[in-house]
């Protein structure tokens, strides 16, 4: 009957979707192993305990709250110390989201515990004494199945791999003291610069919306920008033809002589798909193409294509995305 300790990641006092995914994964794991408890640990400023109800809705049996003003932002060393300390208390596994901070946390905790760590997994299963996980490696080109040996495993979970599922429990609450002072971090957070100010870099944006000649004029690029904004985590790219004509700065150019990108989702609007452009984006995980010309080469590399007038399709898509993303 394994118990799993889950790190419930928060941001700006709110529970993140990845936290619920991790709890769901833990719940599924312990249930498949014939029972056990899911303990969710939340580290946050005063009021963090209020997340207990939500965590319980998704299957947490116990919600451990570590409240300290210093956890208002990611206090990496104190969080790792606290999570690692707790993990010593009879758990089979520690689940952490493989988010930007989560991956940092998981590695710290595993090192502290001298426990094996498997990252970015998409499925978890018990296999006798061991745990097996699957992880898409080689830039999602090869699915690797790993066996984790040992009494305690640290596992970080790929965001969006598990869909939060409600499995309501009435969780017991427990207060946990920080195992190290969050005010004594050696990595000091000076500032967190929110999205709009810090324009997403093409190289790290999970979604890229790019426009080409098919948009006809510079002012129509607003359609591309609106769609990018609707995604919330998208950067705007352009083809060489467009940057050459000065509609967009050269730094936005995606292609052979511009940026080579590999986002999760690439939306190509009014782009024909010349070899030089494809060289810059064809390794994107999912490619959507919107173009008037059904013979355009871009449709050969796109996973999903819509033939038609971008000026009609893109606004409709923008509205649909905004709708779909409500509550992320």
């Amino acid at each position: 009957m394994p118990n799993v300790l889950v790190f419930a990641e928060t941001r700006a006092a709110g529970l993140r979707k990845v936290a619920l995914e991790a709890v769901t994964a833990a719940r599924a794991f312990v249930d498949s192993a014939g029972g056990g408890e899911v303990h969710a640990l939340v580290a946050g400023p005063a009021g963090a305990a209020s997340h207990a109800a939500t965590l319980g809705k998704y299957g947490a049996d116990v919600v451990l709250t570590c409240e300290h003003a210093g956890f208002a932002r990611y206090a990496r060393e104190a969080t790792a110390a606290t999570l690692a300390e707790r993990a010593k208390k009879g758990y089979r596994a520690v689940f952490v989201p493989f988010s930007a901070n989560g991956r940092d946390l998981a590695a710290r905790v595993a090192a502290r515990l001298d426990a094996p760590l498997a990252s970015d997994v998409t499925s978890i299963a018990a296999a006798g004494d061991a745990i097996t996980v699957k992880h898409p490696g080689y830039a999602n080109k090869v699915i690797i199945e790993l066996t984790i040996a040992g009494p305690l495993a640290v596992i970080s979970i790929r965001p969006s791999a598990f869909t939060p599922a409600e499995k309501p429990k009435s969780p017991r609450g427990e207060s946990v003291a920080p195992a190290a002072d969050p005010g004594a971090e050696r990595v000091v957070v000076k500032d967190v610069v929110e999205g709009a100010k810090g324009k997403l870099d093409l190289g790290e944006a999970p979604v890229i919306v790019a426009g080409g000649r098919g948009l006809k004029a510079a002012e129509h690029f607003k359609l591309v920008e609106d769609l990018a904004a609707a995604f919330g985590n998208a950067a705007v790219g352009a083809t060489r033809a467009v940057t050459d004509d000065g509609w967009r700065p050269h730094s936005d150019q995606i292609g052979q002589t511009g940026r080579q990108v590999s986002p999760q989702l690439y939306v190509a609007i009014g782009i024909s798909g010349a070899i030089q452009h494809l060289a810059g984006m064809r390794t994107s995980r999912t490619i959507v193409a919107i173009n008037k010309d059904p013979e355009a080469p871009i449709f050969k590399v796109a996973d999903y294509g819509i033939v038609g007038d971008a000026f009609e399709i893109v606004p409709a898509l923008t509205a649909a995305i905004l709708e779909a993303r409500k509550g992320h």
Binding site: A111, I144, G198, P294
Partner: protein, 250 residues
């Protein structure tokens, strides 16, 4: 400054992969290997820091089989001063084990800064750098997209899903670098020639027991050929559904 960079040898990211006979590894026939992309950003960042800060030393370290020596030479052809090869039959998938081997080597090195790539192309795990820092008891900045070092202190920016976290720290420290930190220089023929004569130490890697091992590898389902799902704005709802449920990117 004395800077160590830990690198990995990985296959070219553009390759098409096949699973090897036996099913627990990839078929390496015909694959081209090189310094992992993120590790090469780390090498470049180290070289630039020492170029800016005045004379210093850069050392490159890697865990793996003999083939990795070519990769270490490549780093030296970019300008790194010397290399350490921690010999192991293969670079394991157990990130904590690699971290232990590296920490053992780095412990007594007196490094001001230790750099890693934020993750490697093959494992995509992002474990080794941060875990090594933890084992060495050093402050660690994971996935820095910007890095400035001056007067024994550092500032960095981490991308945290739609926002940037600006941090400060003191040296010695460990930083794992993200794209955007530096563009790796192209080695000149002069550099390639010089690298052949630079020193390389070879020692066994102290990995310890491997607790994360590959059980099997398989290729994902064939990416279905691109399909045009519809015409005009009417196709939009179908597209959103597919993005949510099939592609799982929403």
């Amino acid at each position: 400054m004395k800077i160590a960079v830990c690198i990995k040898r990985t296959p070219d990211s553009e390759s098409r992969f096949k699973v090897a006979a036996g099913g627990s590894g990839i078929d390496e026939a015909g694959l081209k290997f090189d310094i992992d992309d993120f590790a090469s950003y780390a090498v470049e960042a180290a070289l630039q820091i020492n170029e800016k800060q005045g004379p210093g030393e850069t050392i490159v370290i890697a865990v793996g089989p003999d083939a990795i020596q070519e990769t270490l030479r490549k780093a030296m052809s970019m300008g790194v001063d010397r290399a350490v090869h921690l010999k192991a039959e293969a670079a394991p998938f157990d990130g904590i084990a690699i971290a232990k081997a590296l920490a053992a080597e780095l412990k007594s090195g007196g490094f001001d800064l230790i750099l890693f790539g934020k993750h490697a192309f093959d494992t995509g795990a992002g474990i080794v750098g941060t875990a090594t820092a933890e084992l060495l008891g050093l402050p660690c900045i994971t996935a820095a997209s910007k890095l400035e070092i001056a007067g024994g202190k550092g500032t960095a920016r981490r991308e945290i899903e739609g926002a940037g976290e600006m941090v400060e720290f003191s040296l010695p420290a460990v930083v794992t670098v993200d794209e955007g930190i530096a563009r790796p220089r192209y080695p000149s023929l002069k550099g390639i020639m010089a690298a052949k004569k630079k020193p390389m130490e070879i020692k066994p890697a102290q990995l310890g027991p491997l607790r994360v091992t590959v059980k099997a590898m398989e290729l994902p389902a064939e990416r279905p050929p691109g399909r045009i799902i519809g015409q005009g704005a009417a196709a939009v709802p179908q597209l959103v559904k597919l993005l949510q449920n099939e592609a799982k990117v929403l």
